[in-house]
């Protein structure tokens, strides 16, 4: 536990083998994997020697899968089976993807989120994202020459619960142990803030390929406190490409372009958009089907004009974030620009114009998120004591429950610091009512139909009472990943219903485990050896942590507790030398249970120290 982390400074709790952990920026356009080596965060190179791996996946009829720059180059050859910008479809339904403009995919409606029909069968966005993440894991394990202990995966701050859950499932399907889902602007702030030793209140403006986030953070001595966040999880660089392509289609009478031509136009649009950050005019030649060649050109002024409404759309979330943080532009120390789409000059001009302050972009806007995630992963993996860094993040969208008349009663307001738990009591409205349906929603609107539905469940077994007599307490919990769970309990009888809010496509832990085992990239022996090695390492770490804690706080232990703990340590030692992973895990649980009371006392002690204004660090310094 804390047994490990709150060890006194200078007292090493484990012989420090470096635990391999990475930060992964799973982007709409490109993905990156980074790690901390000898104290410095760096982006790892893929097999082609590049830092950016295009988030593009191609499926073949024989079950083959390619990821990265190869399928990216082939996009126009096989548009229906080459999935680009899949992040935009995560946790989204038919109605959502219809808003993205013309896309060359055959979408199929499915519970929770769309699926895409490919030659290799139906692929959900989770499957496609898992293929990208698997490629990144393999790349990282090759570069670091060993299996990963875990990964921090970044998500847009404005991602709702369904999108976060989908991302976490994809990572687990890819064989990654998710240490944390980290909000992209927060990751950027870590990398930027630590790099520049910044103090003050910063706005992070993050316009990526498919998502837009704005976060306001206060940076004080290693504390990154998110004051508010806002955004648009369906606005990004892709929309600018769509605007250009739509303009050309109209101009050249190609309203009903086929999928290949559509993909070629989008590729040309992207190239032209990038050219216009340095040139006043840009040209492109598009080879259409049936031998037709289309020569297109666009001036910067035209481009800025036709996409001004998209730039404008970023400012409303910025204003909302400032208002929620109870700040004005004058309170902002600097604006950190993140995401490839912030290279567009009219985006920079708009942000600069709004804040009236210079923009900070001295850390590469493409890499800053991955670097921040790597720093966090390094701390979470236990390579570095987290003493000097603390992240306090928030939930981006309010959580509520449906009440009479299709109205939403908000229980957790947006921008609440996570983890957060909030309870509210409800009652029955009919005599003798024995069940109550609960509908959990996320969003800011007053009507249920305007919010996103997260889960529906029924609390049964309420003892029959007159209307209004039952007391049903609904507790929302949002964990440090921003994931929601809900418990409903009837207080007079104690009847409980608990749900982890899972998107309706509903991958259970067991299903994910089965899929992992079935995965052909995962040789079975490999997996078993890996599980055993991990269990042994976990056992070793726990034993060392407990021993260090016992040495530090012997006074908190009774003789009985001490004897019990020593006995469990001895047992775990024995299990460790045998080769049975489940037995080791069971023994870890037993030792962990045996130390719970002790751990809680140590936690109380450290909180008491914090409360009196003396951190353990300071106490140690006074001691010196």
């Amino acid at each position: 536990m804390a047994l490990l982390q709150i060890a006194e400074p200078g007292e090493s709790t484990a012989p420090h083998e470096h635990r391999l952990a990475v930060g992964i920026d799973l982007g709409t356009t490109n993905s990156l994997v980074a790690t901390v080596k000898s104290g410095t965060a760096e982006v790892l190179l893929n097999q082609e020697g590049n830092k950016l791996t295009p988030s593009v996946v191609r499926y073949f009829a024989d079950g083959g899968v390619t990821v990265g720059s190869q399928p990216k180059a082939e996009q126009a050859d096989d548009p229906a089976n080459i999935i680009v910008s899949v992040k935009r479809f995560m946790g989204r339904g038919m109605a959502d993807v219809a808003r993205y403009g013309a896309l060359p995919y055959k979408f199929v409606d499915a519970p929770g989120m769309v699926k895409i029909e490919t030659v290799a069968g139906l692929k959900s966005p989770v499957d496609v994202s898992a293929d990208i993440l698997r490629a990144l894991r393999v790349q990282a394990e090759a570069a670091l020459a060993g299996p990963l202990v875990g990964a921090v995966i970044t998500v847009p701050a404005y991602f709702d619960d369904a999108q976060r859950q989908a991302t976490k499932d994809a990572a687990r399907l890819a064989g990654l142990n998710v240490l944390r889902l980290l909000n992209e602007p927060t990751a950027a702030a870590i990398a930027y803030g630590l790099d520049n030793a910044s103090e003050g209140t910063f706005a992070v403006f993050d316009l990526g390929g498919g998502t837009f986030d704005i976060s306001i953070l206060k940076l004080t001595r290693g504390v990154f406190e998110v004051l508010s966040t806002n955004g648009d999880s369906a606005l990004g660089g892709d929309d600018f490409d769509q605007a250009i392509a739509a303009h050309w289609r109209k101009l050249h009478g190609l309203a009903s372009a086929n999928h290949k031509d559509l993909r070629r136009m989008l590729m040309a649009a992207r190239a032209v958009k990038e050219d216009l950050t340095t040139a006043d005019d840009a040209l492109a030649e598009i080879q259409l089907s049936y031998g037709q060649t289309l020569n297109v050109k666009l001036s910067r002024a035209e481009f800025h004009n036709m996409t001004a409404h998209l730039v404008e759309r970023t400012l409303s979330p910025v204003k909302k974030a400032l208002r929620d943080a109870k700040l004005s532009v004058d309170d902002i120390t600097g604006i950190v620009m993140v995401g490839g789409a912030t290279r567009m000059l009219h985006v920079q001009a708009a942000v600069n114009g709004f804040f009236g302050k210079p923009l900070l972009n001295n850390v590469d806007p493409d890499k800053v998120v991955a670097l921040g995630a790597a720093i966090q992963a390094n701390v979470l993996a236990g390579n570095k004591s987290g003493d000097d860094m603390l992240l306090l993040d928030v939930i981006p969208l309010s959580l509520g429950i449906e009440t009479m008349g299709g109205l939403v009663e908000k229980l957790v307001p947006r921008n609440s610091t996570i983890p957060v738990a909030r309870a509210q009591e409800f009652t029955t409205f009919k005599d003798g009512q024995t069940a109550m349906a609960m509908h959990v929603v996320q969003g800011e609107r007053e009507l249920v139909k305007d919010c996103r539905s997260l889960a529906q469940f029924t609390l049964r077994g309420i003892p029959p009472m007159v209307a209004g007599a039952a007391r049903i307490r609904v507790t929302f919990q949002v964990d440090a990943d921003g994931l929601v769970s809900v418990v409903a309990q009837e207080l007079t009888s104690g009847v409980v219903a608990q749900v982890d809010v899972k998107p309706s496509y509903g991958l259970t832990d067991a299903e994910i485990a089965t899929m992992l085992q079935a995965s052909f990239t995962y040789a079975k022996d490999d997996a078993a050896a890996r599980v055993l090695a991990e269990a042994r390492t976990d056992a070793q770490r726990l034993i060392e942590a407990v021993q260090a804690a016992m040495a530090a706080d012997a006074d908190l232990l009774s003789a009985t507790e001490r004897a019990l703990i020593l006995q469990e340590i001895e047992r775990l030692h024995r299990r460790q030398s045998e080769g049975d992973a489940p037995a080791i895990k069971a023994s870890i649980e037993k030792l962990s249970t045996a130390t719970e009371t002790f751990a809680a006392k140590r936690m109380d002690k450290s909180v008491a120290k914090a409360m009196t204004g003396k951190s353990l660090d300071e106490i140690a310094k006074i001691g010196l």
Binding site: P419, A480, L542, S592, A599, M603
Partner: protein, 186 residues
């Protein structure tokens, strides 16, 4: 049996008041800087990020602690929530849901303000909205001063209920002003 015992021991001590948790004297006046600092110090000890490697049971205690600390901080940081909480500690219910018997003059003022918000929103009048926000803040300041005085004296403690209810009206008014600003921006 043993599981039950552990559950009791493992949960943070929820009987402790938020003030005690932050080492602040119980009262409406609060040392905001000390509150912020202690909040960060405690979070450094209990935040789930420090337990990413820990066994599940310990992750759970850490999460419970962090939630409790966040809730306590949120309550003490906001003067309205703090006032409400002080009344709760004294066993006084603010009756915000049930008691609608507010002074007539206050209700008329509230209605006037709400109508003014709607009018400003319809007319896209930024200035009028800003003026309303200012008036609201000034009224809030007056009421918070009153609340502080009422809460500092046992004899006037019960009068604070109505002040809290009034402040809740103003909080809602503030939300409507924000919504109007948002609507005008988009």
């Amino acid at each position: 049996m043993s599981a039950l015992r552990i559950d009791c021991v493992m949960s943070p001590d929820f009987s402790k008041s938020h003030f005690a948790l932050f080492g602040q004297p119980v009262g409406f006046d609060i040392d905001a800087a000390a509150l912020d600092q202690t909040y960060r110090d405690i979070q450094r000890e209990v935040h789930p990020d420090r337990f990413a490697n820990a066994p599940d049971a310990e992750k759970r205690i850490a999460a419970q602690w962090a939630m409790q600390v966040n809730e306590a901080y949120r309550t003490l940081k906001s003067p309205l929530a703090r006032g409400r909480y002080l009344l709760k500690l004294s066993g006084i219910d603010t009756e915000e849901e049930s008691n609608t018997a507010m002074p007539v003059a206050f209700l008329i003022q509230q209605m006037d303000w709400r109508e003014a918000v709607v009018a400003a929103r319809t007319a896209h009048d930024d200035r009028a909205l800003e003026q309303l926000a200012k008036d609201k803040r000034s009224e809030e300041r007056t009421l918070f001063e009153l609340l502080a005085a009422q809460l500092s004296n046992v004899a006037t403690m019960r009068d604070a209920r109505e002040t809290v209810r009034k402040l809740r009206f103003l909080e809602k008014l503030g939300e409507e002003i924000d919504l109007a600003s948002e609507a005008m921006e988009s």
